[in-house]
């Protein structure tokens, strides 16, 4: 039984080449708004990183640029581990990533299984294999038995699970999440947080999690990048040195409360009040 790694924050040992390097990235929209200003960030392989900040701080814009949706106005986003040709075609399916939107963003006309199969289908994976892999992924997010259900038949939390399964079905190196649980109730959100952590400890992808909740970011991540608005910029880079696995016990511990207080103070400094 090698459960020892669970108590060491993964990612610490892989501090060598970062998976993604964000260098002096700024983004100005066509209407003149400076959404992101001069962000410098390295995303280490296997890390769980939160981008924390108030609305309008450019965290979603930054996440989308990392995904390749919209190019930076200046600066570069590189994937140092990748080969030359993959670098060239940024944002056009070359990246090994999964993306979870704020809404589940499922195709309403397709069953849960067909929704999870989508990335495989687009990559031309044979139908039988795609079905098997999608079913396995659905089971992994706790939706075994719901393969033939349509999105409208699922609750908000279940739809989000399907969305996560779809993002992970290609076993990506990096999972980008844009406030995925913001619209869910507290109980459902806690469950999904727990299950997301369990998945991350199992699969060891790099996770980048955008949120405006201090509590959520501290509970989930090893590292919190605090951002401020107008213009969107990075104000602080905190590391959360609590061991995994984190569970209900951690959520109610004094250490968690202390870490939340620190992060909260940093966030208040960042937004200037």
């Amino acid at each position: 039984m090698d459960t020892a790694y669970l108590s060491t924050p993964p990612g610490k040992e892989s501090a060598g080449t970062p998976l993604v390097a964000v260098r002096h990235v700024s983004k100005r929209f066509a209407n003149g708004t400076l959404a992101v200003r001069d962000v410098d960030l390295e995303l280490g392989a296997g890390q769980f990183i939160s981008l924390l900040g108030p609305s309008g701080c450019g965290k979603s814009t930054l996440l989308r640029m990392i995904a390749g949706l919209g190019a930076p106005s200046s600066g570069t986003i590189t994937w140092p581990g990748e080969t030359g040709e993959a670098q060239g075609s940024a944002g056009h399916g070359a990246r090994d990533l999964g993306f979870v939107f704020q809404d589940p963003t499922l195709m309403p006309w397709a069953s849960a299984l067909a929704n999870v199969m989508l990335p495989l289908k687009l990559k031309g994976v044979a139908r039988a294999e795609a079905e098997a892999r999608a079913a396995e992924m659905l089971a992994l997010v706790g939706l075994k038995g719901f393969e033939t259900s349509y999105p409208r038949e699922l609750s908000g939390g279940m739809k989000m699970r399907v969305s996560i399964a779809r993002a992970l079905v290609m076993r990506p190196k990096i999972l980008l999440m844009d406030e995925p649980f913001a619209a869910l109730d507290e109980i459902t959100r806690h469950r999904l947080n727990d299950d997301l952590l369990a998945l991350w400890e199992r699969e060891r992808f790099t996770a980048v999690f955008v949120t405006h909740s201090v509590f959520e970011s501290v509970y989930l991540s090893q590292r919190i990048v605090v951002m401020a608005a107008r213009p969107g910029r990075v104000m602080a880079d905190l590391s959360v040195d609590a061991a995994y696995p984190r569970d209900e016990l951690f959520r109610t511990s004094g250490e968690y409360a202390r870490l939340c207080r620190v992060a909260s103070t940093k966030l208040k400094e960042a937004i200037g009040r």
Binding site: T105, R152, R191, E201
Partner: protein, 291 residues
């Protein structure tokens, strides 16, 4: 050796939000709540027909002014041989026009969604075709086409194709923007995005257009026949109405009108059924709510 496979809880708090299938009492195989929708219009219809028949008899109105419904029914049976042949001619043109409207409407919509330039250049002409009264251009079409069936088909098609075109364009542009981004992330080709995202997203809109176009194709066919008049070789229902009108066989006019109305209703029901079958599992418009 490796860590045990984590089993996530399959039946959590959010798993209990499934809709519960409610058993409803059935009468003659149909749910009880469906019967008022069938019976109410039926009762109204019977009452109105009875009043009509009564008024015609009470006032002694001659049948060449207003025939009673019973006489219309008798004429329908007596003239079935001639009228059913004409009905078939009209329906054939209607369905061919509708099929052409679907093919051309959807093809143009797909082309327009691929090229904004094409849409900018051609859409105004589609609008011109739509807003020009068909009665006004039908004589020209009849002269140019030099074939009565073909000109009737063209007229009915012009009337029927625009709702399909404009609805499908709207539908193709209505795909969830985040889903479009997702397809982009996975490097989907134009064809894949069209096939797996835009066409399914456009389906409810297309079907709404189809419902309108079904009725319009019939109207277009009948109107074009009227314009072609008795001069042509066509023998559709409109031709029968004109002919019977000249001969003051008013019960026959009514019988032909009844057939046109019933055909229109049948087309509407058929397109509604197609729409229901394609959408009822997933689209909001086909979902019944408790409150």
């Amino acid at each position: 050796m490796s860590a045990p496979v984590e089993t996530l809880r399959p039946d959590g708090t959010d798993a209990q939000a499934l809709p519960v299938a409610m058993a409803e009492a059935r009468i003659l195989g149909l749910p009880a709540s469906v019967w008022p929708r069938i019976l109410a219009p039926l009762v109204i219809g019977v009452v109105v027909l009875a009043l009509w028949e009564f008024a015609v008899r009470w006032n002694g109105i001659p049948s060449y002014v207003l025939p009673g419904p019973i006489l219309v029914g008798q004429t329908l049976v007596a003239d079935w041989g001639t009228l059913s042949g004409s009905l078939w001619v009209t329906l054939k043109i209607t369905f061919m026009a509708l099929a052409a409207a679907i093919v051309v409407g959807v093809t143009l919509a797909v082309l327009f969604s691929q090229s904004k330039w094409l849409e900018m250049a051609l859409l105004p002409y589609a609008v011109i075709l739509q807003v020009t009264p068909i009665v006004a251009i039908a004589p020209l079409i009849i002269i140019w086409a030099n074939d009565i069936d073909l000109s009737l088909l063209i007229c009915a098609w012009i009337v029927a194709f625009f709702p399909i075109l404009s609805n499908t364009i709207l539908g193709l542009n209505s795909a969830d923007h985040n889903l479009v981004n997702l397809f982009e992330l996975y490097g989907a080709s134009r064809w894949q995005t069209m096939r797996y995202l835009k066409l399914p997203a456009a389906l409810p809109y297309f079907l709404a257009g189809l419902k309108i176009s079904g009725g319009l194709a019939l109207i277009g066919a009948v109107v074009a026949e009227f314009v072609a008049g008795t001069g042509g070789s066509a023998s559709g229902l409109a031709y029968r109405i004109l002919e019977a009108g000249y001969q003051l066989k008013i019960p026959r006019v009514f019988a032909a009108l009844v057939m046109i109305s019933l055909s229109g209703i049948a087309i509407f029901l058929a397109t509604s059924l197609v729409s229901y079958l394609l959408l009822h599992r997933w689209h909001e418009s086909a979902i019944r709510r408790e409150n």
